[in-house]
């Protein structure tokens, strides 16, 4: 009898918190869509921020995330392959733990770290500094995806390669990685989605810019940092632009995430 009552209370409480959580999420998304869409206009994709558009910010955001991927994906994959396929015992575990700690490091701390490491010595903010900060966020995610996807490859597949006279590295690169390819690619896509909307690591590394630029040695335009600036602006027009920018950024992240989920589902 008592168990039944407790059961019901727990059920009611967990339902309530689930509903509460979903309600807040819906509230945020609805507000974002309503306010974002009302300030949305196709000319936003044509003009740069200096002319009240978002073109340079969208392109800049992708370039920063793209540069971060160029740095972060190979490093993360190599480390992931090392700890799963080569590392035995101590070293592998040290890297795995370090990577887990890095994954839970607050992004603002990573921003501060890169500020001290790159921005201070070079004397100014730059696209490179921003990319490095994003790459540092990305690496542990790529490591852990690579590690766990490789762990799903059956051991017999490796043994079958070895039994044909292949060397270990041939087996890893011809067979094991190929088997885990879809999983690893999905993980990388989700890691990209994770960093493409980040603000804190860019705030004092690449900052943002009102102009279109491809020069990564200077302050670099990004949607997320500009949203932060525009939203705290006194002018209403700026705040409307911030809503439109937030809307676009959210849709971008959603689309990338859903693509990742879609690929995973199709695989199964």
């Amino acid at each position: 009898m008592k168990r039944l009552v407790i059961n019901k209370i727990v059920l009611a409480l967990s339902t309530l918190s689930a509903v509460l959580g979903l309600a807040f999420l819906a509230w945020i998304l609805i507000t974002l869509f309503v306010k974002g869409l009302s300030s949305f206009h196709l000319s936003l994709f044509v003009n740069d921020l200096i002319n009240n558009g978002l073109r340079n910010l969208i392109i800049g955001q992708f370039i920063l995330a793209g540069m971060a991927s160029i740095i972060g994906i190979p490093l993360g994959m190599v480390a992931g392959i090392y700890i799963r396929e080569y590392g035995r015992g101590r070293y592998a575990n040290i890297i795995r733990n370090l990577s887990d700690i890095m994954m839970s490091a607050p992004s603002i701390v990573i921003g501060a770290f890169v500020y001290a490491l790159v921005v201070v010595p070079t004397g100014h903010t730059s696209g490179f500094a921003g990319s490095i900060a994003l790459a540092i966020m990305m690496i542990p995610i790529v490591i852990s995806t690579t590690d766990s996807m490789l762990s799903l490859v059956p051991q017999e597949l490796r043994e079958a390669g070895i039994a044909l006279g292949a060397s270990k590295y041939k087996v890893i690169f011809d067979i094991v990685i190929k088997s885990a390819k879809v999983g690893i690619m999905t993980g990388i896509l989700l890691a990209f989605a994770r960093i493409v909307g980040e603000t804190a690591p860019l705030l004092f590394t690449s900052q943002t810019s009102n102009y279109f630029t491809l020069d990564l040695t200077q302050a670099f335009p990004s949607l997320s940092v500009s949203i932060y600036d525009l939203a705290s602006d006194v002018q209403t027009s700026s705040r409307d632009l911030a809503w439109a920018a937030s809307f676009i950024l959210t849709v971008m992240v959603l689309v990338i995430n859903l693509t990742g989920k879609f690929i995973t589902r199709n695989k199964k």
């Binding site: 597949l157 043994e159 079958a160 044909l164 006279g165």
Partner: protein
């Protein structure tokens, strides 16, 4: 003629107190099928996996005794337990291939699967590759089913076809000895029958050692049978003697189904 001669062989896994194989002496006769039978955990796989030293993928194993493989060029027996260098291991595994319980197709086309070992062995000539892939597939009774889709992924084949593909892949490199670890236990009876037929066909060119749980299978296809129990080799003889006229009580109990 004896192709491989296992002499006073013991094997201990890393961290284990007791050896998993104790003082095994067993010949593997050329162009014959030798079956390893015995209850689960008696060391059949461990013995089979010593014959191409696939154990060495994992560090810390302890080998004692000898496993001698006849070298066709020098006409001498060479102890494979002496092997230490990477290129010698590769050479050993090209001579002694292995088929696993679950089919292990590689995530590539049917053609590339069969060509994989050949490419590793250094064969680059396209027409030679094509000939040898075709011959291997014909030799594994798979050619008719796949000749019009060699470029398609091997993952689309049925379980039985995948297993025959793995056999074709192993046969393509022309090994002297092929090791099979319960190759049909994951397959339906029809696929199992096809593979048993194939093994009997293959022994004209290749020596075979097979681990099997299936008593009927051992008696149907093998020429020699070794019965193992708790890491010991209890009895080794011609298959008909083991099944009709075993010398040891333990062997008799096992094949009549009184335990295991």
């Amino acid at each position: 003629m004896t192709l491989m001669s296992i002499k006073k062989f013991s094997f201990t896994y890393p961290g284990a107190d007791e050896p998993s194989l104790k003082n095994i002496t067993l010949p593997i006769e050329k162009n014959k099928i030798t079956a390893l039978i015995g209850p689960s955990g008696c060391g059949k796989s461990t013995l089979l996996r010593s014959m191409n030293r696939i154990h060495d993928l994992y560090p810390g194993n302890k080998y004692d005794g000898k496993i001698e493989l006849f070298n066709e060029t020098s006409k001498k027996y060479e102890n494979i337990l002496d092997i230490k260098k990477e290129n010698e291991f590769i050479e050993l595994r090209q001579k002694v291939g292995m088929i696993f319980q679950k089919p292990t197709p590689f995530p590539m086309s049917i053609f590339d699967n069969v060509a994989y070992g050949l490419k590793i062995a250094g064969i680059k000539n396209k027409s030679e590759l094509q000939d040898r892939v075709e011959n291997a597939l014909k030799g594994s009774a798979l050619w008719k089913e796949v000749h019009d889709r060699l470029g398609k992924s091997a993952m689309g084949l049925s379980g039985g076809q995948q297993q025959r593909l793995c056999i074709a892949r192993a046969v393509a490199v022309k090994p002297e000895l092929l090791l099979f670890d319960e190759p049909t236990s994951a397959l339906d009876p029809i696929s199992t029958g096809a593979i048993e037929e194939l093994l009997v066909e293959l022994k004209k060119d290749i020596t075979i050692a097979i681990v099997t749980h299936n008593m009927q299978q051992a008696s149907r296809i093998s020429d020699y049978t070794a019965f193992m129990y708790l890491g010991d080799l209890v009895e080794y003889d011609k298959t008909e003697n083991i099944f009709l006229n075993p010398k040891e009580k333990q062997t008799e109990d096992y094949i009549t189904g009184r335990f295991g």
